[in-house]
Amino acid sequence: MKLITAVVKPHRLDEIKEALQAFGVHGLTVTEASGYGRQRGHTEVYRGAEYTVDLVPKIRIEVLAEDDDAEGLIDVIVKAARTGKIGDGKVWSVPVETAVRVRTGERGPDAL
């Protein structure tokens, strides 16, 4: 199994969710996050005082997938998340040892 993590622009969340549903993903976890990459932050001005806001709001999406599905799933997320402008985010995957569905106790791919 793989854990796929995507940190993307918040307004792409709905697109990504729909694309993942179409792909056949049954569940995912979304967290509000903040961070920066090459995009860096932006400048705000309050009564003439300028503040550089480094951390930009992001959405962190986590999905568990079977090994065979992982690459396809990553492509789906990347396609749905892309705007082509700087700050679109990152997607990565890591191996997962096991997963358990809490309600039934099923383990491994059956738990997905």
């Binding site: 001005v45 309050y46 009564r47 005082a49 300028e50 550089t52």
Partner: protein, 446 residues
Amino acid sequence: MASAAITLAAEAPKLSAANTGFMLICSALVLLMTPGLAFFYGGMVRVKSTLNMLMMSFISMGIVTILWVLYGFSFAFGTDKGSLIGWTSDFVGLSGIDKGALWGTYNIPVLAFMVFQLMFAIITPALISGALADRVKFSAWALFVALWATVVYFPVAHWVWGEGGWAFDLGVIDFAGGTAVHINAGAAALGVILVIGKRVGFKKDPMRPHSLPLVMLGAGLLWFGWFGFNAGSWLGNDDGVGTLMFVNTQVATAAAMLAWLVYEKIRHGAFTTLGAASGAVAGLVAITPSGGAITPVGAIAIGAIAGLLCAMAVGLKYKFGYDDSLDVVGVHMVGGILGSLLIGLFASGKGQSDVKGLFYGGGLDQFWKQCAGVFAVLAYSLIASAILAFLLDKTIGMRVPEDDEIAGIDQAEHAETAYDFSGAGGGAARTTVPAAVGSASKKVDA
């Protein structure tokens, strides 16, 4: 405040139900300004000190009300003693004031005048709080409010508005409190912050407002309540002066908001909501002393000048390195000075009195009188407030411990959190949410 000098009619005035009703409504409007101010300031601080900022204003409604009833009204509006302070023993505890007794030559009850003036005494110390954001022990602030009202506000109100007060006798024009309220509070703020120092991280950490919608709400409530503050200060509406004041209040505020926004757009590239709210307040401050003496076109000029110069003045704190956290000096002191001095130029002779300013052929006579009022109050308030802050700091201490300030004064002083962020928070909020739930429960238990 209205000059009582013109007493042509010899017969005793009769109570006017219309004016009395008007004054009670105005009193309620002025009271509403204090919670409005609390929101205006509360939205401007970081999330961790929101409640403290709200409470610093709110507590004034408790403390000053009691002091005013006990002796404040007597100090400010009792029989003059040496042009410096008033005293009428019947006013103490309001015990000797008959409910039907009329105020001076006016046709409203003493109690109506008393309660209207009480609302001014409440908001003036509250105005100071904006400069002291995030760092002052609540007990020290409460004590400061009581002492400052007693030593500074009550006497200064007497100087400016009390029959026999020296500024009143000199002919200083202060319709609704440019000097007694705004310069007074602004100078006090400056005096206190010079003693207590800066917030931890001033000029280094981003200290952006946590809720501009709250700031806008507060500015709106201030604008609304200010009609009572200004128009009510004529103590009735028999001759239209109060109505002129009402109109000029609207006009100057509009002009000031626009001037601030235009300056900001040119200088910083954006029309900000904080600029709109601040500009409006700057205009309200500047029209407060002047609105009864000038024409609506004069109000446009004074409003625009105040909006522009206050927008420039708020940057000075970074240059000089004093932490006037929410720009009480930059908006209220500067705006108050502008409004008070510009009377000397813009007084038309057709408003509250026949005094004319420079632009209407009256020369500079009134301007020099305005200068005397402005700088005497400024100096007295600045020095007295600095001394009070110094004494409190040396005895009970003015500031919370640095750790509490960093973690957030709301938790340390009020054992509460303004907003429940237990769900997901935004990026900025994450770093400023008061960290320790543990310390809150400890505080509650103790």
